[in-house]
Amino acid sequence: MQDQFVSAYLETIRRRVCSPEGGFAGQEGGGYRADATAWAAVALEAAGQRLDWLTAARARLKAQQLADGRVILTPQHPDAVWLTPLAVLAWHRARDYRDATDKAARFMLATTGRHWPRTPDLPYEHDPSLKGWPWITATHSWVEPTALAVLALRISGRGEHERVKEGVRLLLDRQLPGGGWNYGNTKVFGRELFPFPESTGAALNALKGAAEPARVRKSLDYLHSRLREVRTPVALSWGLMGLAAWGEGPAEAGAWIKECLANQERYGPYDTASLSLLLVASRAPRGLESVFAIGGKS
């Protein structure tokens, strides 16, 4: 299945290459999408497909890096910084991007969301003083950008930095009492909110090796149960990587990915980011970080 998937993936994204600038569109005939380009770069590397597309995709992301290290979606929107950790993942195994990675890491270490002291009168239960990372500068820190920043900083050798440790504390603080994570609220006006598989998977990847298994047991159980019904690419990919990161990847993972791919008959071709994420999940036996441990530097 793996080889078939890789072949089909390459055939699909071949038609989504942006020429001559490099990078990928979300769909055939569509415009360039930076997040899709970053995930495609990770997927190509994970599948051992060191093609010209990969080189061009990394270069396109580099062209979107500002002097302070942030990687942005468009020049008109310098505050949308959530692409920065994805670019670090995309560049990670390429020697030519060490400087770009260092700049991006410095930016992430110097950037936080908006934070304020925890007081008894707040309507939400999480600790807003913990510093993580936002999607957009000058907004609050949320689960997925914090998880991605923790992962990016850790694979680039900064796992012991205090900001990473605080990011881990934030993720544990935002874990729902019943297990799992959502976008980043736990209880509001006393009511516990519901978890999402995609957020849960991202948080579990970031917490790999940074938390005791007992602290995330309920979240792993939630994913084991929930993924039996999920066959959409983003939630399934993150969910499978979340379980794999903790050595609990389900035996049915390959079959579920196959079913998810087959759903394209119904929904049409998945966008490049979703399809790439699915390929990454199929190549991540111990979670997202494990795809960066296979093979040598390119």
Binding site: R33, L73, W135, T139, F189, P233, S274
Partner: protein, 349 residues
């Protein structure tokens, strides 16, 4: 030292100053009380700025019924004619903020979406698409599946656009109810002729209610506003609702109140079978009507107060009700007294 007052002195003694201040305060409080008691909806026309509008209310006790006929009747009553729709592209914006399998009270019901699509095609629309930028979740396809909408879209071959990842354009925030200098909007909005807010009737723990105007938060792309759309929260929810509506200029609203949500909305509340649809060309008027049906005073909803007069009417006297009357369908939605946005908004009947 002579302490005798001069007959020609200027200025007040301390005692006079305190007396006048207290009297002024008393007059002010009495005036405020009188205003609230006798003019709860503000000055009548022609002394207010509101331009009248029409709202259509129809009973719809369940989803498995002929909703298409009800929506067509509403469009006819609102004088939305085939001549007006023929050849136009229509974007339907449902509320898909977040889903939970089986929780039909969170999102706009797929059968309401289907009926709206069919109604516009019936009137001659050249293209009808459904578009949303899901507020809390990154896997939009899973949200479509869990809401039941994926099945309807696939069966009827209705295109869906994920606005969270659309290409964008930026406009000046001309209305300026918030400090936001610009608004970044999806290109898809420029490619359609009509934008229809296909909202859900719910209480909301930050805004009091979420109806057709708040529903347009969902057009703002998550790539540029985050998940949740936190820029708008920091800028102020009420002002953001008004700024977005002023920029997007939707042509119509259809609110799904067949099963709405009461209590701790927009996610954690409980189902409320109000059994109706509310429609109109003026979104403030539709929301004010929905609020009255929910036994909520629209004047106490900050975003409606901001919108009143500038984007549409909210005074009952300025909204002509078509179809059912508010009294005939009124169905009080439960509020939670410990939630600040719910305090003091109950309509006095």
């Amino acid at each position: 030292m002579n302490h005798q007052e001069s007959p020609t002195r200027q200025g007040w003694t301390r005692r006079e100053f305190i007396g006048v201040t207290l009297a002024g305060t008393a007059v002010g409080l009495a005036g405020y009380w009188g205003w609230r008691r006798f003019l709860p909806e503000g000055l009548p026309r022609p002394f207010n700025r509101e331009k009248p509008a029409e709202t259509f209310i129809t009973k719809a006790p369940r989803y498995e019924m002929d909703l298409l006929s009800l929506i067509l009747q509403g469009l006819q009553e609102l004088k939305v004619t085939p001549a007006e729709i023929r050849g136009k592209s229509i974007l339907l914006k449902p509320n898909l903020v977040e889903t939970r399998p089986g929780a039909i009270h969170i999102t706009t019901h797929p059968l309401v979406v289907r009926a709206a699509v069919e109604a516009f095609l019936h009137l001659g629309a050249i293209r009808v698409l459904v578009a949303e930028g899901v507020g809390h979740r990154r896997d939009s396809l899973l949200v479509l599946e869990e809401s039941g909408l994926a099945e309807v879209l696939c069966e009827d071959r209705i295109p869906f656009v994920d606005l969270n990842y659309d290409t964008v354009f930026t406009v000046a925030n001309a209305h300026g109810a918030t400090h936001l200098a610009t608004l970044t909007l999806p290109e898809t909005l420029k490619q359609v002729d009509w934008i229809v807010s296909l909202a859900k009737m719910k209480t909301h723990h930050w805004a009091g209610v979420t109806l057709s105007m708040k529903n347009l938060f969902g057009v703002m792309p998550g790539s540029y506003y985050g998940w949740p759309k936190n820029i708008l929260h920091h800028a102020g929810i009420e002002g953001s609702i008004v700024d977005i509506n002023a920029a997007v200029k939707p042509q119509l609203a259809i609110v799904d109140g067949i099963i709405g949500m009461e209590g701790d909305g927009p996610i954690m509340g409980t189902p409320k079978a109000a059994g109706l649809l509310v429609m109109g060309r003026s979104l403030p008027a539709v929301d004010a009507t929905c609020a009255r049906i929910m036994a909520i005073n629209p004047r106490r909803i900050p975003y409606l107060n901001l919108a009143a007069g500038r984007l549409g009417p909210i005074r009952e006297a300025n909204i002509r009700q078509l179809g059912e009357s508010i009294v005939a369908v009124r169905s009080p939605f439960a509020l939670i007294e410990t939630i600040p946005a719910h305090q003091g908004i109950r309509l006095e009947l």
